[in-house]
Symmetry: C2
Subunit: 138 residues, 2 copies
DNA sequence: CTCCTAAAAGAGAATGATTCTCATCTAAAT
DNA sequence: ATTTAGATGAGAATCATTCTCTTTTAGGAG
């Protein structure tokens, strides 16, 4: 994900291109495992050693509101952020609280077909996300 | 869910039967829509007007640790609690942040069969929870 | 290039859901 | 009845996150 790509993503959404926003998006795309705000701050502190924590949260909020980033949360951890906007599922380790993206188009299709036939009265489906809870082997 | 049933649930798990625990479990089973700690406190304040907030959180924690209650969390809301321990899915309204339980045994079987054939290297599955995101019609 | 404006950043205070601490109480076993 | 370990109470502490108000700045217009 080049600097130019990141810049385009911001302008496409009508967001101003600020150095802070560029850096935070770069962090999200480069860090693995759904970074927390703190992970992001650590990543960008080389270029932005004095960035305000409040600013990071504000930028993240703007990115989420404008659908460039998703929030990811489990029952036992603080908020994490995900730059993959395409619908995907999560493998969640109940021991370590680690979340792994799980992409499976066959499964997507299976679920889409299932709910196409299923009647959920009064509920309009926008997304279907599977959380597979288990444990990673050592 | 009778008082006796609630008492049995506690003793089965080796938990002491205290009035606070009885009241909190009753609240969870009787309140709808995955009550928050505050909902629970409001419910039991008639019988326990002075219960400490810290105690409620502690009791909830013990109930969760002993698998009598589940935590339920979304990206945009505080922690909620669920007394239905049997595996089930959630319909989540993205506008109102409301969570509805969704029980569907046919779907459970479909998913069990799917992942029985699927190879997830190094991951032992314990539970599969579907979150169907959408909006409730008015 | 300059000017202007609205949005964004900064610094640190505020918030509140939740956890912690330590003393007291009590459920339940004997 | 006594004892003990676990539970509760009261309020302080924690910390992830949001708020507030001032200053800065991106980007559009001329």
């Amino acid at each position: 994900m080049s600097t130019e790509d990141i810049k385009n993503k911001l302008t496409e959404r009508g967001l101003k291109v600020t150095p802070q926003r560029m850096a935070i998006l770069e962090a999200i795309y480069n860090l693995k495992n759904h970074p927390t705000a703190e992970n992001i701050i650590d990543y960008i502190k080389k270029m932005h050693p004095n960035i305000a924590t409040g600013t990071v949260y504000k930028v993240l909020g703007a990115l989420v509101d404008n659908r460039l980033v998703k929030k990811v949360k489990t029952e036992n951890d603080i908020m994490r952020y995900d730059g993959v906007m395409k619908s995907h599922h999560h493998l969640y380790c109940m021991e370590s609280d680690v979340i792994k993206d799980y992409v499976d188009e066959e499964l997507d299709e299976l679920l889409q077909n299932y709910f196409a036939k299923k009647n959920l009265p009064g509920f309009k489906i926008e997304d279907i996300v599977l959380q597979v809870k288990g444990t990673f082997n050592k």
